[in-house]
Symmetry: C3
Subunit: 136 residues, 3 copies
Amino acid sequence: MYQKIISLSTHSRNGLYDITSMIENAVKESGIKNGIASVYARGSTCAIMIQENWDESVQNDVITLLNKLVPHGVWEHDRQDNNGDAHLKAGIVGPSETIPVVDNKLGLSTWQNIFFCEFDGPRNRREIMITVLGEK
Amino acid sequence: MYQKIISLSTHSRNGLYDITSMIENAVKESGIKNGIASVYARGSTCAIMIQENWDESVQNDVITLLNKLVPHGVWEHDRQDNNGDAHLKAGIVGPSETIPVVDNKLGLSTWQNIFFCEFDGPRNRREIMITVLGEK
Amino acid sequence: MYQKIISLSTHSRNGLYDITSMIENAVKESGIKNGIASVYARGSTCAIMIQENWDESVQNDVITLLNKLVPHGVWEHDRQDNNGDAHLKAGIVGPSETIPVVDNKLGLSTWQNIFFCEFDGPRNRREIMITVLGEK
């Protein structure tokens, strides 16, 4: 068992941030050869998504799609915080992804990367908790 | 390893039920200090969502959004059970969330709560299976 | 800890393939009595969804819904690969599901089956990685 919090700052209201190398480093540090890496976004207006990272096109498309499906400013929760859309996007995408660990590396396919999704930025500090379980 | 089924009854066709304290109790009972808690909804018309619970606004907004994206009564499956929308909502949100366990507590952020999502209620008994893995 | 890659070929652009029996066999082979099975789709244009399999109606409805929410041919990424919709569907549904293992069997409810979702087929070989963790 190995557990670590990584953090990042975000720079706009909506944005995807590639955290693959940070997770890969944590897996390496864990010394665990085969098992799983659980990646968890600690916030109710952010999420984790596995997605391609060839260029920024898919990341932009994710934001365009979510803005279309979940428009800003039309939710009951907006009377409190004006961020109802951020909560809904976070709930649909979800804060947790569980990725296999194979030979002390993430078992991602060629085009899979791990993204932190910000839906209510900018934020100085967002936390992602990584838990690695398995055999050394 | 610790495993437990918790159950609840639901009172309307669509509804979100905060099960955080039940999961927190199971984690406590497990005696596991650091690791993960896997929360799994046992039903193909229900799901698990991590979401804010300041008041009922976000919960209402989740139902409003899903009813808009997945309208009732227009699906091929409705010829069998008239609950095609419930299956689709359950499939999109998903039955499983994996949450870190830190110092024998759920590693949720301040505003994250765990909700059971009912999409085809009311039901007398819905089951959620909790599995806690890690180190004591 | 037990880990295995299973593979399948897909026959159309969009399609759901029931892989429950393949996962159930892997759990049996693992010898693990109680714990979790992590199911992971290795591709950025495919996903895993838990869904009913009474007949093909829900599977068809999943494809109809996703085609409506995420139309083909209108995305920035389409200038590269013409498969922006496939990436977005994969990102929303997600590549990972974690299912409890109880008495060396999957802890699914009666109507829950595990589906591999193809969004950019046909493909000769798609890989799913299964990791089983727990106690023998």
